[in-house]
Amino acid sequence: MEYVNPEGLRLDGRRPMEMRQLRAEIGAVSGADGSAMFEMGNTKVIAAVYGPREVQHRSQMVNDKALIRCEYTMANFSTGDRTRKPKGDRRSTEISLVIRQTMEACILTHLMPRSQIDIFVQVLQADGGTRSACINAATLALADAGIPMRDLVTSCSSGYLNSTPLLDLNYVEDSAGGPDVTVGILPKLDKVTLLQMDAKLPMDIFENVMQLATEGCKAVANYIREVLIQNTKQLEHRRGV
């Protein structure tokens, strides 16, 4: 199957180094402390953050830090075939753990001791790159909730098909069997917090693919920054003096 045709266009008409269209909306869940909806092309994800609030299970309370809990679910209707078990299956548990570790690395937990921060992420429409979209949505939701962070965390995926590094794979390209590299970075500090890959890649090609994903992350970071600044300005103007 040809994933990159001779003219250099992919299946959905993008160039190999082109990302899908990004769209973010802050305040999707009005009852949460912070919430956001993030779209990367056809992948739509909603994130809600509750906290910092009182720890619900006393035994889990940590005396000097905040406890971070994360739950990743996919809505039944998010994939082509209606999924039977939205959470509790291995993939969801793994992705929940991955998102939790990624966000825990950047939240300044020592500023909120003996409290709990809950991050709930749900995939409404899955078209490849759900992990990245979830991390981006969680970053927006945490910033919306006013939780102090070291830096924004942005994430993007990339792959290698038909001897070309491709940025931001969609579902068809992802299920082609080629390698899929997901990178999560702190853009200002220029540090990597998440690096996952399935399948094998030779070392030099891996460097190219990871570099491509990192640049995609930086592009997402610029977009997220703009969205957050605009939201802050809007809230401040409405509030008045």
């Binding site: 802050i26 305040g27 009005s30 402390d33 912070g34 906290g51 910092p52 609030r53 009182e54 005396n63 905040a66 300044l108 909120m112 001791p113 003996r114 409290s115 910033a143 919306d144 909730a145 006013g146 939780i147 102090p148 962070m149 070291r150 830096d151 924004l152 702190l186 853009p187 200002k188 500090l189 920054r225 957050l228 600044i229 939201n231 802050t232 300005k233 809007q234 809230l235 401040e236 103007h237 409405r238 509030r239 008045g240 003096v241």
Partner: protein, 328 residues
Amino acid sequence: MRGMEMSLNQTQKLRLQRALELLETLSSGINSNSSVTVADTIPVNQEDGVLKGHGTTELEGEVVATVCGVIERVNKLVYVRTLRARYKPEVGDIIVGRVIEVAPKRWRLEINFSQDAVLMLSSMNLPDGIQRRRTAVDELNMRSIFEDDDVICAEVRDFMRDGSLQLQARSQKYGKLERGQMLTISPYLIKRRKQHFHHLDQYGIDLILGCNGFIWVGEHVETKDNMIEEEPIKPDPQNNKSKTSMSLEEEEQTYTPLETRQNICRIANAIRVLSTLGFSITIDVILDVVDLSISKGLDIHEMLGAEFSVLVAEREAERRNSSTRRKR
């Protein structure tokens, strides 16, 4: 817009947009460059002699924001004020909270903070008003003072060692709140003022703007000072009976009249509309919105509709416009 569940038709959208744009132009002159997001560098003049306050951290010699918000500078202190975050308590704040748990010698209250607040039994007046040491019998009767899910008004006394708040409710104006509604809004919309207790005579209503974002709107209750020794102290059995089973006549006497209840709902809806639109909430603004709704002859439930939200936005834009013009 967050929390706005109604759909606006085309003209309403245009009117709302115009009102919000006017608000933006009015306030953009003041604070245009001071909004920051996470990991933005904060411009500081001298690197030495700058106190880094809340919401900032140091990175490679630069001051960097850790939250999204607005930069505030006070002399040498630079900090970032967040907007939609949880309540940031200060000693002496008036807050409204809900009892979550009755624990040994204390009540735990939920206020909009990262931990639950604690109201010690010793920080609360006993029902008979005598100043004495709290005994084991008092501890067993804690539920007769406050129970689970009661709404309470109190004041922040200080911070405990683990960071949670300790409250006190020793004055007559604090204590259990009955016959009314509690509303939840974002704390940043309520500014710290001299007066948080408002008695609205023309509606017969008490309004308490808690600094933590919980607002109480209720029927006016006369706060009598029972520290005066001349007042006869009622014996205990009678008090207990009056709480659990009231005779029909007593219930009729303490029945809240319909008009007061309607006023409570009207004021509560006015606060809800203001918080959805994101305007700061002060007593003048609330009364203005209530007057607007009465003058337009709107029903109480219509206040939560699309048309009234647009009207409130236009009114707010007008008010701020005229106040900035007056300042000039």
